[in-house]
Symmetry: C2
Subunit: 476 residues, 2 copies
């Protein structure tokens, strides 16, 4: 049953209760109306009321007590303080924490590891059967069973599907505006290679995804890390100051649910950013990898949607929503299309034929939106469960991000805590986290960590967070 | 029926006749012994003799005339002159022919094109059914149907199979010595990134594979092109002179059946090369992509097999033997393993899970060697058919490589011919060739072209070569 706006009524009821819990109108431990009372209040069936409570229970906001009814479980005052705007040094300065990164990512394939370090959805949350069907179809229909080279620009069917959905973030892409790549980082790598040369300076948010930082360093770029607000990202005024002071050749921002801060840049800020960079003639590499994983009412726009001059290289992939292991991503490079295409040709000729065709098939089938609705709901619930558990188990004086989408929490500890030590200790308990020092080229964020909540919530996860909290408390 | 050395007797007989044709002992138009006579001469069955003649016929060396028997068709004096040792300018100097490259490679996906430009085996020559089976098995057996990230180093089963076969080229690799990549060019790209920094000079053979050149240029390297013999490659003495004169940070050679010259570096030269580079502390990126496609008795060794210090980064793939579209390659980077692994992580995190597992399955099944025997025979026959046809249809004064393996002929024309014009003209006839200027960063080889003979030989191919020859004659 839906209301006038197309939302299910049980969702509206749940949202109303969620609001009141968040505003501390309904307090922890407080008894909620019985299902019968709730039904009368809203003039709905008992089963609709029950659905609302199930939804809230799934998010960890309320709990059922046998023979007693539903009670508020979540307390926003236990919610850790918000992370403050970052304040990196405005001098490009490299420092190698490559060994730490290698160590953290060497455990990819280790079995039995509680992998809070990896920003991907657990396979349990993915439509495996449908993906498999899409792959088998690809193998059957492709010429030479997918053994031949794909065109350099990439699978035409996949590009058509990406163009079709671009309307959801305010875009109006054509299939020929898009180049496919082996995942989003690969799209970023080609973009950087295409628009910079060794010795150039680029400006990025801070903290920022480590792969991008290290890649930039490996091709001889200097990286300027900008102050970044955990809710809204880089302020155009801060960027303007940097543009006036430094010879910046390109910018890189993860505009929607950034990795690792989780911010979502407001629409008007995106627009201002695009206009500013246009005026300075500086291209923007926009990483919109997490854009489809929003917890709000609709998908946020992208900077690309405000780009009239082809100055934004919009990068994304299905690694966070469908199949990390397929390595399927893409870039819409605006006026840099020819240059990016050449980088792809010289780097790996083209991308794997069958995996691209399979994702094209999957998207054409039309099940993506249904899958994403479920995934978003699960991840939103997870984010609240993780927030509650961290509030409960971690030291009192931590600060934390409050993402409105994505997979990731950013936790800041007392300066005394070195999260690389936490990483080492936690590994002994088969728990993996990502130390904060990975997310900068400066000597920063050593007291921070990134935690992914991309796995199904259960007692084991809760227990691992408890163990982690205990370890950290023991180190203080 | 086999002889003592494990070779089929019909093959020995055919080889004996082939030798005499090549030495002009048996001349063009000469009648060969009847099948009956041949059988008596060698004391073999009629069907064995017939097999020998079929084999020679397949190679285009002899032809059957109805009611008359077999006649010599091939004349080594019609074989064009050999290409001479290249003599590039010993100054690193960039020149953009990127537009030409883009144009040539944009026709990847065009239907009905006779693609002499592309150095890959035609799907008809590939074991498609078995590859498909290996892929379906991979999808069934992989956790989460291949949607999860592979370990950064790559599929363990595939690395085991690569290590196992390394004995064939004199290697003794362990699975952990190997990192998988998205094809061989991708392996070269990571290797270059790992061992050089912007501004460094590297030394390469000349002409040389364009992707490698352009990639090196894009990451800010200076490229020194060395004189290269079309039979044996770069002379260690020439390299020594360059090492003494320039600050060379790395070398790149395609040691076996190079692209595009087709040379195979003799074993003793490989050994000398490795020793020389060890002494100077300069790493060698060895591209052994074509090593398995030998026409002689056994697979040539690799420089890696002489490498005692871990100074050779040995790169290869299955793109020329099994499935270009799978994008499965690898590198054994010696002592640079950690560095290369990081480049892979920062560039694209990891490679596609399912395609790697499929190739691992295929190799473990054991059909690779049988497939390769057939592929080598076909390509050897093709190389002779193409050589004959080019000798017949192209202008008299051309020079040409005589590859002992691989897919590629390098043809040199009168200085008046610009092969980019040939490319444009040929494209009108749905024929694609690779202009020579692609294979250098200098203003060279504009009168050369690369022709691939990776497709099944038939009248259509013969006709296309005739058309091509006619076009070129018309331009003189």
């Amino acid at each position: 049953m839906k209301n006038g706006k197309g939302t299910h009524i049980y969702m509206s009821i749940a949202e109303d209760i969620e609001q009141r819990i968040m505003n501390n109108v309904l307090r922890i431990g407080e008894k909620l109306p019985s299902v019968r009372t709730l039904s009368k209040m809203h003039n709905v069936s008992m089963s609709t009321s029950l659905q609302a409570y199930y939804l809230l229970e799934g998010k960890g906001l309320i709990e059922a007590r046998p023979q007693s009814g539903y009670f508020v479980r979540f307390n926003p005052s236990r919610f850790p303080k918000k992370v403050e705007k970052s304040n990196p040094s405005l001098v490009a300065k490299p420092k190698s924490v490559e060994a730490i990164i290698s160590e953290v990512y060497d455990d990819f394939a280790m079995k039995g590891m509680m992998r809070f370090s990896l920003s991907v959805p657990d396979p349990e949350l993915l439509p495996l059967a449908k993906l498999n069907k899409a792959m088998v179809k690809a193998l059957r229909e492709l010429p030479a069973a997918g053994t031949s080279y794909e065109s350099i620009q990439g699978n035409a069917n996949l590009r058509r599907e990406i163009a079709k959905t671009s309307i959801q973030w305010g875009g109006h892409l054509q299939p020929d505006d898009i180049i496919t790549t082996a995942g989003c980082m690969n799209a970023i790598a080609y973009s950087l290679l295409a628009i910079t040369k060794p010795g150039d300076t680029i400006a990025v948010e801070s903290p920022v995804y480590f792969g991008m930082l290290r890649y930039a360093q490996s091709i001889g770029l200097k990286v300027l890390e900008l102050p970044t607000d955990p809710d809204t990202g880089v302020d155009p005024d801060d960027l303007k100051k940097a543009l006036d002071k430094y010879d910046i050749k390109a910018c890189f921002f993860v505009t929607n649910f950034s990795n690792p801060l989780g911010y979502c840049m407001p629409d008007e800020q995106k627009e201002a950013m695009v206009k500013l960079l246009s005026r300075y003639g500086v291209p923007l590499i926009e990483d919109d990898l997490y854009g489809d994983v929003y917890f709000g009412k609709q998908r946020p726009r992208s900077c690309k949607s405000f780009d009239e001059e082809g100055n934004v290289l919009w990068c994304s992939s299905i690694s966070k929503t469908l199949a990390p292991g397929f390595r399927v991503g893409w870039v819409a490079p605006g006026k840099y299309l020819e240059k990016v295409k050449r980088r792809k040709l010289y780097n790996s000729i083209t991308t794997a034929t069958a995996t691209q065709a399979a994702i094209g098939n999957f998207l054409a089938e039309g099940g993506y939106e249904r899958h994403m609705r479920k995934l978003r709901q699960t991840l939103h619930a997870n984010s609240l469960q993780f927030t509650r558990a961290i509030g409960e188990y971690f030291p009192d004086n931590i600060k934390m991000s409050s993402p409105q989408g994505g997979f990731i929490l950013w936790v800041e500890f007392d300066k005394k805590i070195d999260t690389y030590n936490v990483y080492r200790e936690a590994a002994q308990h088969n728990i993996s986290i990502a130390p904060g020092s990975m997310f900068t080229l400066q000597e920063r964020y050593a007291n921070c960590m990134r935690i992914s909540y991309g796995m199904p919530w259960n007692d084991k996860v809760d227990g691992a967070l408890k163990t982690l909290g205990g370890l950290i408390k023991g180190m203080m």
